[in-house]
């Protein structure tokens, strides 16, 4: 299974599953990160500690730990 963290800058992928705990899942969903949504990786902080993704028109920053919990597939 591919994780969001594995993606490179510029990749466009589709979310297939959120492996987060309930609290974090709610948080991700409130930002629009949910099953079936397409995201694009915009930027990576040094050593991939933090990544910036784009979903619709919103840009969101995620820590590597959180990006690991999001399963994606290529489109």
């Amino acid at each position: 299974m591919k994780q969001l963290l594995d993606c490179q800058k510029g990749d466009k992928v589709k979310i297939t599953k959120l492996n987060a705990t309930n609290e974090l899942k709610e948080r991700l969903i409130s930002f629009g990160l949910m099953k079936g949504v397409e995201v694009e990786v915009l930027e990576q902080a040094p050593r991939k500690k933090t990544i910036e993704i784009k979903i619709g028109k919103m840009r969101i920053a995620l820590r590597a730990e959180e990006a690991k919990l999001i399963e994606v597939q290529e489109i």
Binding site: N22, E23, L24, S30, K57, M58, R59, A61, R63, E65
Partner: protein, 710 residues
């Protein structure tokens, strides 16, 4: 205004709750609304989390409650909790849901949740001017029909649609029909219908509509459950609900009903957006924000650029801030003399001039720095750059258990701990926020500068003093980061809090909004800090002046009278001040606590200075001045105090003293703000214990190490 009329038309009071996601221009909108009909509002500032604005329109009195921005109805952050609790429990008539027209799909996610409440909602499609520029055309009328809720296009910037928004609110408030059309997928609708039918069949009495009750039950809404749980129908209802939840989860291929509902809302919103939004020009080119981000959050240049901005802010804070300081200082000196001249009673004059005016003056002195710092922070916030910095620094800060967004309070801490504690609110998570609150004190605030200047001047030549100052500040910051790591491994142990943050669009800041923010914050600083400092100054004044010892005074008065030379008179006067202080309450406290501080090499005078420093760090210098018998009229530049200190205090003790000043409790006012922000008195005692033990331990080490070297 209308109150003057003898017989006013019956005016109705409408209480509006203003709700929206963060970064949708809510504050701007409330500004435009209240300004269009200027009846000055009651801005209560950051203290009470929500802001109220009052204004009149025709025959209606409006109270608009501006609630903190929230992404969803969860209680993840303080802001979200405040908003949710207000919407669920308080009394209000109507909700204005502010949405960003340029990003409708995301904003409607919150709207969908609002629509399941039993309150009327008016949707303000804000930033309609920006949407137009981006080639987005929204059919507000069609949208109103689809949702069953009034939608009005507005722009807080151009003030377009503001009047229409107000009249719509009035019309909706007065109309009796109200039918929200929030449609789910067939599977969910089926289950809702079953529950509604059951409630209808049993004539369950409720204010909320059956449909909303059904939705809330399916969404596992705690409050709705609590209400129904005590009702006899619960026994029959429960199996229906379990069955319904199973069906919905099966339909969504998920074991989480909340996730399923979020998906339901999202697909409903996608439908609405597809219907009402027309994109005239299909532009897939890079937006301005993306272009700026390419530079500002660049993996290599990003951090140097940030450091440059911070350096500039500090330079401005200290360079420009220093200009009015002399004037303010001179003013309070003059003011004290002028007032003092009119008071015949010695004690009262001393209390007012040396106690209150001097104490309050010390606080007002830092207002220019604080204004500049606040402007800088408001700019960082309103342009959207702050989120970028958090993005850049999170990797580094995370290693020490801190959060990327901790940097703002920490940086503010170099100016003054009080606004720093307040700005820690930007940290969404309680644990991150508490950890940051605990280490803000390590960032040496402006009030400690005079103490450092004094000691650096006493033991080092002028060419070294600057470097020593820089070293003190840097080592304070490093100690703070290490303390964070230690706290994270012990007291704040636990899983790391997630870092999920929106990176908002870059926006040009509105001068009016910045002015407003800075003004309210500065006024709060003056009011809060001023009252505490004034109180503390009075207390210190009292402790150092009482009990009076008339015998001693008379004895010295005679000596001074009989002395011939002017210098002798001054020496005797100083001796008197010293003896008086030694037997004052403060002196007694100092003598009493001397053994505690003896291992650090402090005499009773230094011990007293540290204790008065608990009230405010500015007081340390003036206390030392008084105690080393120079009269209270000393400042950091006073050479005779510098000499007295280098003569009377051994170098190792001085190092230990600086270490304690660096680490222990900031000041009384800051402690009060800390307690409020941390959310309980117990946290104050934790902070007291933590800083005191650390300060004592490190000072002990510093004292002994220096003694060995020197």
């Amino acid at each position: 205004m209308n109150e003057k009329k003898s017989c006013p038309v019956i005016s109705k009071h409408i209480k509006v709750a203003l709700v929206g996601q963060p970064n949708v221009g809510k504050s701007m909108l409330i500004n435009s609304v209240s300004n269009a009909h200027l009846q000055v509002g009651n801005f209560s500032g950051v203290t009470v989390d929500k802001t109220e604005v009052l204004f009149d329109y025709e025959n209606h009195k409006f109270t608009v409650v501006d609630l903190p921005g929230t992404y969803a109805f969860t209680d993840y952050t303080i802001e979200e909790r405040v908003t949710r609790d207000y919407l669920c429990a308080e009394n209000y008539d109507i909700i204005i849901n502010v949405v960003d027209s340029t990003n409708l799909a995301k904003n409607l996610q919150l709207t969908a949740e609002l629509l399941t409440m039993s309150k009327r909602v008016v949707i303000a499609l804000n930033m309609s001017d920006e949407a137009k520029k981006e080639g987005l055309e929204i059919d507000a009328k069609y949208m109103s029909e689809l949702l069953g809720v009034s939608c009005v296009k507005v722009s807080a910037v151009t003030k377009e649609g503001i009047v229409e928004l107000i009249t719509t609110v009035i019309a909706d408030f007065e109309s009796s029909t109200y039918e929200v059309k929030l449609i789910f997928s067939e599977a969910v609708e089926e289950e809702i219908a079953k529950i509604v039918a059951y409630l209808q069949g049993h004539k369950y009495e409720a204010i909320n509509s059956y449909r909303n009750i059904a939705i809330n039950l399916l969404k596992n809404n705690k409050k709705t459950y609590e209400k129904l749980h005590d009702d006899p129908i619960w026994i029959e209802l429960q199996p229906i609900l379990i069955e319904a939840s199973k069906h919905i989860e099966l339909h969504h291929d998920s074991d989480d009903i909340k996730e399923s509902f979020a998906e339901e809302y999202a697909s409903f919103n996608r439908g609405i957006v597809a219907e009402v939004v027309k994109q005239s020009v299909q532009v897939e080119q890079k937006t301005l924000t993306e272009k700026i981000d390419n530079v500002l959050i660049h993996p290599i240049y990003g951090i140097p650029i940030f450091l440059f901005f911070m350096w500039t802010l500090f330079q401005l804070t200290f360079e420009i801030g220093a200009i009015p300081m002399d004037y303010i200082d001179a003013f309070f000196g003059w003011f004290g003399d002028a007032i003092g001249g009119t008071i015949p009673n010695d004690d009262v004059r001393s209390l007012i001039v040396d106690g209150i005016i001097a104490g309050v003056g010390a606080v007002v002195l830092f207002v220019p720095n604080i204004i500049i710092l606040f402007i800088g922070i408001a700019l960082l916030e309103s342009t959207g750059y702050m989120s970028r910095v958090a993005f850049l620094l999170d990797g580094f800060f995370h290693k020490f258990g801190l959060h990327g967004q901790s940097f703002i309070p920490l940086v503010t801490g170099f100016g003054c701990s009080i606004p720093a504690y307040m700005s820690a609110r930007i940290l969404k998570n309680d644990r991150d926020r508490l950890l940051t609150l605990f280490i803000i004190g390590f960032m040496s605030c402006g009030a400690r500068l005079p103490v450092y200047v004094l000691f650096a001047g006493a033991f080092f030549g002028p060419e070294m003093a600057g470097n020593i100052l820089f070293m003190i500040y840097i080592s304070g910051a490093l100690l703070g980061i290490m303390a964070a790591k230690i706290l994270k491994m012990t007291a704040f142990k636990g899983v790391d809090e997630p870092f999920v943050m929106e990176m908002p669009k870059y926006r040009l800041p509105s001068a009016k909004l910045i002015w407003h923010t800075v003004l309210t914050k500065t006024m709060m600083y003056l009011k809060k800090a001023g009252t505490f400092i004034a109180g503390a100054s009075m207390l210190i004044w009292f402790l150092s002046n009482y009990p009076h010892n008339l015998v001693l005074q008379e004895e010295y008065a005679k000596k001074i009278e009989s002395s011939t030379s002017e210098t002798q008179k001054i020496t005797l006067g100083n001796k008197l001040a010293e003896s008086l202080l030694e037997q004052s309450y403060l002196g007694v406290i100092g003598k009493f606590s001397e053994p505690i501080f003896a291992p650090l090499g402090f005499d009773w005078k230094m011990s007293v200075a540290l204790q008065t420093g608990l009230a405010a760090k500015e007081v340390v210098v003036s206390t030392l001045g008084v105690l080393y018998a120079l009269g209270s009229d000393v400042d950091a530049e006073n050479n005779s105090l510098v000499n007295a200190i280098s003569k009377n205090i051994p170098f190792p003790s001085a190092v230990a003293f600086i270490v304690v000043i660096m680490i222990y409790l900031p000041c009384l006012a800051a402690s009060v703000v800390f307690t409020r922000e941390a959310g309980g008195v117990k946290y104050f005692f934790y902070l007291l214990a933590f800083t005191s033990i650390t300060a004592y331990g490190l000072a002990f080490v510093a004292y002994n190490v220096t003694k060995m070297i020197v």
